[in-house]
Point group: C2
């Protein structure tokens, strides 16, 4: 089994200090920089927040990957505000973006989805709880992996669930060994990194 953890993910309810009025088009209590661009101007860490579209596409990629169809993945979404969603590997996520937002809004508000369970949890605590031992932290600033089959030596993969920047983690609080690795010389979107990791685990 492998653990995939989308880390510091830009998925959250609209923060209280923002008090966004809902529009006719965008009816969800989920922060989305495409719809809340102006309101987010003064929001802390705004460039790391409000990108649920990244989580949507990345989860669609992971869930349909052969390694997941084989039942070999544990899938977690850790969010900016320290929630962890455990995604059942058989979840059929809506392909439509707005329906996805509807599902996520209910999970984050009511935690009543049988396939997606939420807990308040920091990334470090999650890694210790799932007993992650060899942890690959994917970043373009990590050591370049020459052969993708090398990915198979890890049991856990941390992929940033945000558009730019580095995963924030206090390595001293993590029991397992974290290695920073890179799969390409340039930065890649989260769904690309997730795809390359998942397909490499199955095919190489």
């Amino acid at each position: 089994m492998y653990n995939i953890v989308l880390s510091n993910s830009a998925l959250e309810l609209i923060p209280k200090e923002m008090k966004k009025k809902k529009s006719k088009i965008y009816k969800y209590d989920i922060l989305d920089s495409n719809y809340h661009y102006r309101e987010m101007r003064n929001l802390k860490d705004r460039e790391r927040r409000g990108r649920p579209d990244i989580i949507h596409i990345t989860l669609l990629t992971i869930l349909d990957s052969p390694i997941n169809h084989e039942g070999l993945l544990n899938i977690y979404v850790h969010t900016y505000d320290n929630k962890v969603l455990k995604i059942n590997p058989e979840t059929r996520l809506p392909r439509n973006y707005f329906r996805f937002l509807g599902v996520m809004e209910k999970v984050l508000k009511y935690n009543d989805n049988p396939l997606i369970k939420m807990e308040e949890k920091r990334l470090e605590d999650l890694l210790n709880e799932i007993n992650a031992k060899r942890i690959a932290l994917l970043t373009k600033n990590g050591e370049l992996v020459k052969k993708t089959e090398m990915l198979k030596k890890y049991d856990t993969f941390l992929i940033g669930g945000f558009p730019k920047g580095e995963i924030i983690i206090n390595e001293e609080e993590v029991d397992g060994k974290i290695e920073k690795i890179s799969i390409y010389k340039k930065g890649l979107m989260a769904w690309t990194v997730a795809g390359i990791v998942c397909y490499s685990l199955f095919f190489s």
Copy 2:
């Protein structure tokens, strides 16, 4: 260089016989079964049409793949109604689904996008025009490829841009050699197939 062709793609303007009224939420002249479910009930081939979300996610996957960043892909979207969009490899496609629909609506109506050029063209004619020689047609009913590095022997990849079924092509009209191949025992979404092809061309 490799050619990727999303074939028979479920991306089209709302057909005239449908006369769909636009809603406040969905303002686009693009057929989308999520919003036009009822109106599509009597539409011919409806299970192969109206899924622009598949094209959106698949293009996002292809455009961000390392093999594309290296400048080694020609990317085509062939549609259900025999249009071909040539997508410039450096296109920055909107991540937001509705913005994507806005771009595609303008391309299909006015063909005035400098990065996405449209022509009326059948799939067979496209393949002959681009001089496709060794053509891999991806289908779960094809011969299973054991090693993904085998994909590198093809110059052109046909991936179905629709949710279910087989690519429709008259092989006798195609100059190149078409081989039906499969990369996994089960059916996979178009973006998964595209990801596996693109990443295999670069990494294996």
